[in-house]
């Protein structure tokens, strides 16, 4: 798969106005699955793990290895504060939603031309 490296400046000046004390951080997305996962959450705004898997690939949704990779990507996004989660008793129905930092990062990625603004997630980033 093609490796894409995108530097994200995730926190902008006005975000600090709303979240005083937060430090400016730079994050690197260097993994295609991670990028696609972020895209689905950012475009869907609020989606379950099952919906993310089905949107990325209906055939791979059953694949445990693929699910583990997506889960790892989500953990990274959670760690960076780009995404948050509402836990459910069954992991597949935990709701992942994009944060304001995530929306700012998403807009920067779109401005950078990484994504086709109007294209569905499955059409993006050919491997």
């Amino acid at each position: 798969m093609k490796l894409i490296t995108v530097i994200l400046r995730t926190k902008a000046a006005m975000t600090h106005f709303f979240r005083p004390g937060a430090a400016i951080t730079y994050s690197v997305i260097d993994n295609t699955v991670l990028l696609k996962t972020f895209e689905v959450v950012a475009q869907g705004r609020s989606v379950t793990l099952r919906e993310i898997l089905e949107t990325l690939s209906s055939e791979e949704a059953h694949d445990a290895e693929f699910k583990a990779e997506v889960s790892e990507s989500l953990r990274w996004l959670l760690d960076k504060g780009l995404v948050r989660v509402e836990e459910a008793p069954i992991e597949d129905f935990s709701i992942y939603y994009v944060t304001s930092d995530g929306l700012l990062a998403w807009n920067k990625l779109k401005e950078a031309g990484v994504f086709d603004k109007h294209g569905p997630a499955s059409r993006l980033i050919a491997g």
Binding site: M14, I90, F93
Partner: protein, 221 residues
């Protein structure tokens, strides 16, 4: 300017505040909407009450001074530019000042970026986006909490009222055989297949799940 009564100015200001609220609400609602349409993702969109958050009010407060200033500018300048038109409007002109002040200002500002020496020194688009995005993020968070709570509440309420066989039949009726078979296969991998199916139904078809719950409650009373 002296011919304009104070009450009319106050009315313009109040209308400008009202239009600002409306404008901010529309922008936050539009920002929180999904950008993709997929069969696998429910088509529900954020509700107005999810948009009303602390950050929404901060956004409105940030907009109000600019919108009031532009309304007062419109109130001062427009009758001088178009005296006949505003004479004809009479008392309705207060509405026009507020409308022009808020909406024309928004259009102007959100489409204007001034660059000097390759630096966006007056990048209004960026500024408005930076104060709007936290309000949109807060609306998405609130809506996700409501979705999660509703999903769990419906699943918990339906669990004792519906047998697994009955649930499977209803899912087959609602979603069709193909989708029901896929769900059945996935549910068998879960620790609690019935809860899996209930959560799926509550997420994918919330209105139908709610109507099943209402019908079950009515029949048990």
């Amino acid at each position: 300017m002296a011919s304009v009564p104070l009450g009319a100015t106050a009315a313009s200001v109040l209308l400008a505040i009202g239009f600002t609220l409306l404008c901010a609400l529309i922008e936050v609602l539009a920002g929180a909407r999904r950008e993709i349409e997929k069969e696998t993702i429910p088509r529900t969109q954020p509700k107005i009450k999810s948009c009303i958050t602390g950050k929404f009010w901060l956004y409105v407060i940030a907009l109000i001074p600019f919108n009031l200033a532009s309304t007062l500018l419109a109130w001062y300048q427009l009758p001088r530019w178009f005296p006949k038109y505003f004479d004809k409007l009479g008392e309705w002109s207060v509405f026009m000042y507020a409308f022009a002040g808020v909406f024309l200002f928004q259009v102007l500002v959100t489409n204007t970026d001034i660059w000097i020496f390759s630096k966006g020194v007056m990048a209004f688009q960026k500024w408005t986006s930076l104060i709007r995005t936290p309000a949109i993020g807060a609306a998405i968070e609130k809506e996700s909490e409501r979705d999660s709570e509703r999903q769990q509440r419906i699943a918990d309420a339906l669990k004792p009222l519906l047998s697994e066989a009955d649930l499977s039949t209803r899912i087959r009726e609602i979603a069709g055989d193909e989708e029901a078979n896929i769900l059945e296969a996935r549910a068998q991998d879960a620790d609690d297949p019935k809860l899996y199916k209930l959560l799926w139904l509550a997420r994918r078809y919330p209105l139908k799940a709610q109507s099943i719950l209402n019908a079950k409650r009515d029949s048990s009373e």
